[in-house]
């Protein structure tokens, strides 16, 4: 290799290092969570296969609190935009449960009641679209409402929604019974009996062991309707 060429290469590399040394050091700067793109644009960007894009977007949202050189507390996130993002992700991938896990187990952990309620409300609204798959997130939301927010009324409302709407075979008995047990815990035995009576009449609760357990919890004496005919023990 000719010597001038070698010198030129070394000089160019040295010049590159010099220019880099003159640049200011990078500063860690937290950026706000941006508003999500419209659903139509996301579907367009997905080129017809929304599932992978929904998954990558979920990872982006999940990791947003860990920005280069900065860790953003959840409390500093815009929960309105966060909710919009979670709604978008569910719209792109209705079968996936990831956004509901994030809402109920991650973003609802922030110790600010308004934000916790926002996430629980998101779970409640999303539950209606697919109760048989999304019941467990609403069940967790009911537990959070009862024990973190100390709002038994809200917990009972969530539990009633599970009892009434999540009727698929994969929904376990304890989830359908939550409302009965919450009412009993609050001392509303009569209301719990009415609810249990409704579950028995509809055939939602038919297993003899399950019925005995609930009756023992209620420790009531008033007669209850017989279980619906033809329902299989679960």
């Amino acid at each position: 290799m000719p010597a001038p060429l070698r010198l030129a290469l070394l000089a160019a590399f040295a010049g590159h290092l010099l220019v880099h040394s003159l640049q200011p050091s990078p500063l860690a700067r937290a950026i706000d969570l941006p508003a999500p793109p419209p659903l139509a644009m996301m579907r367009l960007a997905a080129l017809g296969d929304a599932l992978p894009l929904a998954q990558l977007s979920t990872l982006y949202l999940q990791a947003f609190d860990n920005q280069p050189g900065v860790s953003v507390p959840f409390a500093d996130l815009d929960y309105g935009r966060l909710r919009d993002w979670l709604s978008l992700l569910l719209a792109l991938d209705p079968i996936g449960q990831y956004p509901l896990l994030l809402a109920s187990h991650v973003y609802a952990q922030v110790p600010i009641e308004a934000r916790q309620r926002s996430m629980l409300d998101f779970v409640r609204q999303s539950f209606d679209a697919d109760p048989d798959r999304r019941w467990r997130w609403l069940a967790h939301a009911a537990i959070l409402a009862r024990h973190r927010l100390q709002d038994t009324d809200l917990a009972i409302a969530y539990a009633r929604a599970i009892s009434e709407l999540a009727t698929g075979p994969s929904v376990p008995g304890w989830a359908r019974q939550m409302s009965v047990l919450l009412l009993a815990d609050r001392g509303e035995v009569e209301a719990a009996k009415v609810l249990l009576g409704g579950l028995l009449a509809s055939g939602a609760v038919s297993d003899p062991q399950e019925i005995r357990f609930l009756l023992e919890r209620l420790a009531g004496s008033a007669p209850l309707p017989k279980p619906a005919q033809g329902s299989d023990a679960r």
Partner: protein, 267 residues
């Protein structure tokens, strides 16, 4: 100069298979299988990495991202390979040697197409074998078959643009644009027909009619090889059959158009 338009009796099937065989041999010698395998390995690594980041549904993440990555990588690689291979052969006049041996232009084009699609079939077959290890057989087979149909359409697109334009950049850009359009045509129809941003009036009607007309002409590649088939639920009954017919029709259309242009070319 045009070779005698002779089918040489019944020799054209043998000629077609010979050209297809040499196309496969050329792909092997140009190390294309290594490139396909490398892209598969990269997609596997990316999918595994992403699955490690997920705090739930990690298997779903892994499979969906690997499948999607493989699909887009192989569409890109095969399209570029078809364009570059055909352009090189046109520039080096290699096909004229074939034409001088009483191979018709039609046989040559069909032979090349068969070779490229066979190459895609071998690649998809290898992925299918891997999927069968980890997934239910029906899901793996359905997705693999649909991916092969999609790749066949992409190959026919790339061949058509190359034989018509004989320019690598133009063929590549148009193939990419047409692929993106076929994958997003349904979304465009929905946007054009339901967008509240477009005021009701002639322009909105025009955009709606235009996108609907395009959707009639183009295949809906967004319904091909859905990753949801691998992780959620199988395709609807008859979907694969419909996609096979769509592939057959569109590949025939593109090949016929390519032959029209190729037959008009002066040698």
């Amino acid at each position: 100069m045009q070779a005698p338009n002779s089918t040489a009796g019944g020799r054209w099937p043998l000629q077609l298979f010979t050209i297809a065989g040499f196309t496969l041999l050329e792909a092997w010698r140009s190390r294309l299988p290594w490139l396909l395998a490398g892209s598969l390995a990269l997609a596997l690594a990316a999918g595994l990495f992403a699955a490690e980041l997920a705090i739930t549904e990690s298997a779903r993440f892994r499979i969906a991202l690997i499948a999607s990555g493989v699909r887009f990588a192989w569409v890109f690689i095969l399209a570029v390979y078809v364009i570059s291979s055909l352009t090189r052969e046109l520039n080096e006049r290699g096909f004229e040697s074939a034409l001088s041996l009483e191979v018709t232009r039609t046989t040559w084009v069909l032979g090349k197409l068969a070779g490229f699609i066979s190459l895609a079939a071998v690649a998809v077959g290898s992925v299918c074998v891997m999927l069968l290890i980890a997934l239910p057989p029906l899901a793996a087979l359905a997705w693999s078959a649909s991916l092969l149909f999609e790749l066949a359409i992409v190959i026919a697109m790339a061949q058509f643009f190359t034989l018509s334009l004989a320019s690598v950049p133009a063929a590549a850009v148009l193939s990419a644009a047409l692929y993106v359009l076929t994958r997003s045509i349904d979304a465009l129809v929905l946007i054009a027909s339901g967008s509240p941003l477009l005021a009701a009036g002639p322009w909105r009607d025009l955009s709606r009619l235009g996108t609907e007309a395009l959707s009639w002409v183009l295949p809906s590649l967004d319904r091909f090889a859905q990753t949801g088939w691998l992780v959620d639920q199988l395709p609807a009954p008859g979907m694969l059959g419909l996609q096979f017919v769509q592939c057959l029709v569109f590949v025939s259309l593109l090949t016929a158009a390519a032959l029209v242009d190729f037959h008009r070319r002066d040698l």
